[in-house]
């Protein structure tokens, strides 16, 4: 500290003062709810602290909902990553500027389209009296199950992957491909030994983002499947709004803490990946 000049130190002090309102609002609007949530999750009936609520979330029906949410997020992350990457590569290599522009704009719109309106549009298409359901003679309930939900979640996940991966694909220099070809590499060898390693951090970072989005989604699932697919977000909402027995509020808090821990693990993978991918694209 002694190495800093006095004017420099004064600048730092004024800087923290300028940021004070932001820090204060964050402390109140984010800090208080999170502290209340954590303390509540560890509060046991009858006073005192303990692990009762958290161990309760590790039993049925909660552990099933947690597993189902994780499975859905994994399916959406894997499917969205593969399909999004293929779509982005198809669009970027098509040489049509119009197609590229149209797909990237549409991806921006659809990646932000979610919630209940998304559910309504798919219900009109594949719901029990949906147009495609009738045309293909599908039975009722074709959409209202685990795979139906995954199909609908792809509608915002694939466009998000396109947006994430497009800059990385643009960063793959044509010279690398030519160099590989001149050395006798096949297309498969190029992708395995050059393309995928360079794209790796972006792909993994994008997959993590899709996982988080699907894991946190609530409104679409609530409007579409109600309780027929158990998900942790639906369980939390039920416990919060009193759709279950009284006294289960702390279960909602404990389930929320479970979700935050999982999201923390997810971010612990995402942030280093983001740093690594930006190194290649510089």
């Amino acid at each position: 500290m002694s190495g800093l000049s006095s004017s420099r130190r004064r600048g730092g002090g004024a800087g923290w003062l300028a940021a004070a309102p932001l820090l204060l609002v964050t402390l109140v609007a984010f800090g208080i709810p999170v502290v209340v949530l954590v303390v509540g999750a560890f509060s046991v009936k009858g006073g005192g602290l303990g692990f009762d609520n958290l161990t309760a979330t590790m039993k049925q029906p909660y552990i099933g909902a947690l597993g189902s949410s994780l499975k859905l997020s994994a399916v959406v992350a894997l499917g969205g990553t593969v399909l999004g990457a293929f779509l982005a590569q198809a669009v970027l290599t098509s040489r049509s500027g119009l197609l590229r522009e149209a797909v990237l704009t549409a991806s921006g719109v659809l990646a932000n389209f979610g919630g209940v309106p998304l559910a309504f549009i798919w219900i009109a298409t594949l719901g029990n009296s949906g147009v495609v359901t009738a045309a293909l003679g599908l039975g009722s309930g074709a959409l209202y199950n685990f795979w139906g939900l995954a199909l609908v979640y792809m509608y915002f996940s694939v466009p998000l992957m396109v947006l994430v991966i497009a800059p990385a694909l643009d960063g793959l220099k044509p010279q690398w491909r030519e160099a590989a070809q001149n050395n006798g590499a096949s297309t498969w060898q190029f992708w395995r030994m050059v393309g995928i390693p360079v794209l790796g951090p972006s792909l993994l970072g994008g997959a993590v983002l899709l996982f988080g989005g699907a894991f946190a989604a609530y409104a679409t699932a609530a409007a579409m499947v109600g309780a027929s697919v158990p998900l942790v977000t639906l369980q939390i909402a039920d416990a919060l709004t009193g759709n279950v027995l009284i006294g289960y509020e702390n279960i909602a808090l404990a389930l929320s803490l479970d979700m935050i821990v999982i999201a923390l693990l997810v971010m612990a993978v995402y942030l280093p990946m983001q740093k690594r991918s930006s190194r290649w694209l510089a």
């Binding site: 600048g11 730092g12 004024a14 800087g15 300028a18 940021a19 309102p21 932001l22 820090l23 609002v25 964050t26 609007a29 984010f30 208080i32 709810p33 999170v34 209340v36 949530l37 509540g40 399909l83 293929f86 779509l87 198809a90 098509s94 197609l99 704009t105 549409a106 921006g108 719109v109 932000n112 389209f113 979610g114 919630g115 209940v116 309106p117 998304l118 309504f120 549009i121 009109a124 298409t125 147009v131 495609v132 694939v158 988080g212 946190a216 609530y218 409104a219 939390i236 909402a237 919060l240 709004t241 509020e249 909602a252 808090l253 929320s256 979700m259 935050i260 999201a263 971010m267 942030l271």
Partner: protein, 264 residues
């Protein structure tokens, strides 16, 4: 040739998957077997009870969130560049929080904090405060929650904008010429940041106009919540509202990229 085939198949499958539900949704809203072709569903949106009220409430919330986000984020971001680089990791952490705490868990925390706070403060003068921030017509708690959710987007947009200008030189030049700090902020920095500010504002507005989970679980009738309650049994109306909200996102993004392009 194989390259051309896989590209066509990929684009074809994607085209069917993304466009068919949209086409069906639009068709569904303008045609039915009994009435034939009609734009009635879109007319019913405007006349549905609560439309103006909830739309105005969401727009008001949106404006409040935009103003607050800019007032909180801009000074902090300027400070990072003007002598407090130690702030950067703090800001990065703050803007990562909403990714770690999903909205559904955030609302659980808020609801419990409010319930506990109302009980604990019942006998003190602060009781009135905690009641008034939950006012149905202008819920301050919702504004604060949305500010936290909007910060990551606004922060990145403003940070990118600030990267393009030499903040230190501009500020020092203006200060040496005797400009006050508010003058520097509003007449020197902001005009150079127009597209970044527009970007941050539109992203915040899009968030407020689309957020359902927190508002619904706290019982506030914002526009996205109204969409769900008014749909009820009117299938055509609910799909028309969905098409409308997709159009709204599209319009916001279009304005956003337009604002970004004009300044270049």
């Amino acid at each position: 040739m194989a390259g051309v085939t896989w590209r066509r198949v990929t684009l074809g499958v994607a085209g069917v998957y993304f466009l068919v539900p949209l086409a069906i949704a639009v068709w569904f809203t303008v045609y039915n077997d009994t009435q034939g072709f009609s734009l009635g569903a879109y007319g019913r949106i405007v006349s549905a009870p609560g439309f103006t009220e909830s739309l105005l409430k969401s727009l008001l919330l949106g404006v409040a969130v935009i103003v607050l986000v800019l007032l909180l984020a801009l000074p902090a971001l300027l400070a990072v560049r003007l002598g407090a680089p130690g702030l950067r990791p703090v800001l990065e952490t703050i803007t990562t929080l909403p990714l770690i705490v999903p909205p559904i868990t955030y609302v659980v925390g808020i609801a419990n904090a409010l319930r506990g706070g109302t009980d604990a403060l019942a006998a003190t003068p602060f009781w009135q405060t905690i009641i008034s921030i939950q006012d149905e017509n202008f819920p301050v708690v919702l504004v604060l929650a949305y500010v936290m959710l909007a910060l990551p987007f606004a922060y990145r947009s403003l940070d990118t904008g600030l990267r393009a200008i030499d903040v230190r030189t501009l500020v020092e030049a203006a200060r040496n010429l005797g400009a006050s700090w508010p003058y520097v902020l509003f007449r020197v920095i902001l005009p150079n940041l127009r597209s970044a500010v527009a970007g941050a504002s539109f992203l915040s507005l899009a968030l407020v106009m689309g957020e359902y989970t927190i508002a619904a679980l706290m019982g506030y009738r914002t526009f996205p919540v109204w969409i769900v309650t008014v749909s009820g049994n009117d299938g055509q109306l609910s799909v028309a509202l969905s098409v409308l909200s997709l159009g709204l996102i599209w319009l916001l993004l279009l304005t956003l990229s337009g604002a970004g392009r004009k300044s270049k």
